[in-house]
């Protein structure tokens, strides 16, 4: 008998009799105004080390980047509007993630944010290359002010029918407290996270 058959037979024999999965809809936060949700998002994100910058249009981003990044450090983004100052990472060969090793700043669009924990959801489609949000020294994510949901229940409602090869929630810069529980930002992923919130116009 194969291990597969053996394991399944044992599990089948030993599992308890069927119980239904519970309904989880009642757990979702309800009736929060968009202002409260946005405020909560900003508080949660700031608490975990993200920096929030409100912008009116994508054109504002270049100025903020120039304040922080000294050329010739590499800035990449798959967003067409940012081509004036960022390398177009959408043309980068997916098969060669190593070419991103020396990226200083990556600017990506997030699909939505989550107020209760300051996390942002992005799929492979927004990343261009899966490793980009992790390998870059610094990361900036853009999210529409109207695309913030209250909690994780609403978040998974939003992704219900989504198909992707890879997707992730990112909440703040990478961090570790493995050495005597002292918090250090910049473990293996990005050292900082800037969230550009695109205001409604």
């Amino acid at each position: 008998m194969s291990s597969r058959a053996e394991i399944l037979a044992l599990v089948d024999k030993n599992q308890p009799s069927h119980v239904d999965a519970p309904i989880i809809d009642m757990l979702a936060t309800v009736n929060q105004s968009p202002e409260i949700i946005l405020n909560t998002f900003c508080t949660s994100a700031t608490n975990i080390g993200s920096q929030i910058i409100f912008i009116d249009s994508l054109d504002d981003i270049e100025g903020h980047v120039q304040q922080r990044i000294i050329s010739p450090l590499r800035v990449v983004s798959p967003i067409p509007e940012l081509k004036t100052f960022a390398e177009d990472s959408s043309v980068l060969n997916e098969a060669n993630p190593h070419s991103l090793e020396n990226v200083e700043l990556a600017i990506l669009k997030a699909e939505f944010g989550v107020a209760e924990n300051g996390a942002l959801w992005l799929t492979e489609q927004q990343m261009g290359n899966r490793v980009l949000p992790f390998i870059t020294q610094h990361l900036a994510l853009i999210v529409d002010a109207t695309a913030i949901v209250a909690d994780m229940h609403a978040a998974y409602k939003r992704t219900e029918n989504a198909d992707y090869g890879f997707a992730t929630f990112i909440s703040g810069p990478s961090k570790t407290a493995d050495i005597e529980q002292s918090l250090v930002l910049g473990a293996h992923g990005s050292r900082s996270l800037i969230i550009f919130i695109l205001k409604q116009v």
């Binding site: 597969r4 030993n14 989880i24 209760e116 490793v131 909440s171 529980q181």
Partner: protein, 452 residues
């Protein structure tokens, strides 16, 4: 082999370290409380998580097949391993087939349980752990002492010394910032050069065939996305029915573990990237047996948050290594005897049964009840430790008999006051390394008589 009590005694030789360990873990526990209290329906969330897992366990064989079918559809290769040896062999074969001699690994308690690293090393394959804490204990040639905080037993000066010896930094550096930066540079080079990466799995979704890996450091993603071959090892109990159920578990996991609202990265792996090989190994290694033990099957709900360790008065003061098993603490003491009742007969006794673990567990495992039940099984099977066994029996007997309790209490007060050495007698295992409280002048019994 030393048992828990003897290993705990070793750990207790360095009193400053024990106090630090105790206080630090308690601080993590308090952060958990703060995070939990910010969620209005926290208790309902725990209850729901527990019920989802009840459903998973009751229908596990279906969910496993559903997951397998969907994962295959997604282009992932699925393997089944009935025990640790088979798991390790599968990993080796995947690497051999690809001609890979060096692999990077992110946190996976399962591979600790299977002793994968020594096996691969014996077969000429180098493994580097990429979680900072795990890398540190790997350099020290020790196992992790905590499932979430692998090197919580180490002081920063010791870590500086390890980095001095192995990573070539100057001697005497102990600043966590500098040490972390050193590890970042060292491991970046590893991520870039390794062609295979192994990760653990936090959750796997039957409905979609995808799996989720949670880290704060980003090491699982760095390894997996840069490697040509990604191997994910998971216990068969890691399934959840649908993607929407992740909302419940991701809300609970990091809050229970460290008090964060969510881990920095919660990565959903569904399909290999073009040109990449992605493998999942479904490992049983005793889990199906545990599923068949009605008293202990709830332990399979565990999401490995570590909260039961942080809160446990015994774990905090005995250290993770005293449990001599991959998963320490209260939950480890339930899981280990399932694998080997004789070798781990001491572990269910390494508890005060205070129930704090049960109170914090995000999936509501009745941890302390299961520890109590293991004691009975172990004693019945003849694996009990006689010294502690007799002490426990006497205690049970006096507590159930008010007269004896009164007399014993009077004697106890006299003994503590006049003959502290008698209480600290090494024959009495419960008083080792414990500062005895000041004896109350009156017992509760006589106080009540005088004051009612």
């Amino acid at each position: 082999m030393k048992n828990h009590a003897e290993l705990a005694a070793d750990f207790n030789k360095d009193e400053d370290r024990v106090n630090w360990h105790d206080e630090t873990l308690w601080w993590v526990r308090q952060k958990r409380d703060k995070a939990a209290h910010q969620i209005d329906n926290w208790e309902l969330l725990r209850e729901t998580a527990s019920q989802i897992k009840n459903n998973v366990l009751s229908d596990l064989s279906n969910y496993l097949q559903q997951f397998e079918a969907n994962a295959i559809k997604n282009g992932i290769t699925v393997h089944w391993a009935k025990d640790a040896a088979e798991h390790n062999q599968i990993v080796k074969e995947i690497l051999n087939r690809n001609g890979i001699k060096r692999m990077v690994k992110s946190k996976s308690m399962l591979t600790e349980e299977c002793h994968l690293n020594p096996y691969l090393e014996q077969n000429g394959i180098e493994v580097i752990d990429s979680d900072l804490g795990e890398r540190i204990v790997q350099l020290a040639e020790e196992p992790p002492s905590h499932i979430v905080l692998p090197c919580i037993h180490k002081k920063k000066e010791e870590i500086g010394e390890l980095f001095h010896q192995h990573l070539g930094i100057e001697a005497g550096i102990s600043d966590p910032q500098i040490l972390t930066e050193t590890a970042r540079l060292h491991l970046r080079e590893i991520f870039i050069t390794r062609k295979a990466a192994l990760t653990g799995v936090n959750f796997a979704i039957a409905e979609t065939g995808e799996f989720v890996v949670c880290t704060n450091e980003g090491n699982a993603d760095m390894g997996a996305h840069l490697a040509d071959v990604h191997i994910a090892s998971m216990g068969i109990e890691k399934l959840v029915p649908q993607r929407k159920h992740l909302s419940v578990f991701l809300r609970l996991l990091a809050r229970s573990a460290t008090g964060q609202p969510i881990t920095t990265y919660s990565s959903h792996f569904k399909k290999p990237r073009p040109g990449q090989e992605m493998h999942i190994i479904l490992v049983d290694n005793g889990r199906s047996t545990q599923l068949g033990r009605p008293d202990f099957r709830n332990s399979l709900k565990c999401i490995r948050c570590g909260a039961c360790m942080n809160t446990c008065p015994v774990y905090r003061r005995s250290g993770g290594h005293s449990y001599h098993t991959a998963i320490a603490g209260p939950i480890g003491s339930i899981l280990a005897p399932n694998l080997d009742m004789k070798d781990y007969a001491d572990l269910p006794f390494a508890s005060t049964l205070c129930g704090s673990c049960t109170n914090v567990c995000p999936v509501k495992i009745d941890i302390h009840d299961q520890l109590y039940k293991w004691r009975q099984v172990i004693v019945k099977e003849g694996y009990g430790d006689h010294k502690k066994g007799i002490g426990m029996q006497v205690m049970g007997w006096t507590l159930s008999s008010p007269n004896l309790f009164n007399t014993a209490g009077k004697a106890g007060r006299w003994v503590i006051k006049h003959a502290p050495f008698a209480v600290n007698n090494p024959l009495n295992p419960w008083y080792k390394q414990r500062d005895m409280p000041n004896p109350p002048k009156e017992s509760f019994g006589s106080w009540y008589k005088n004051n009612r």
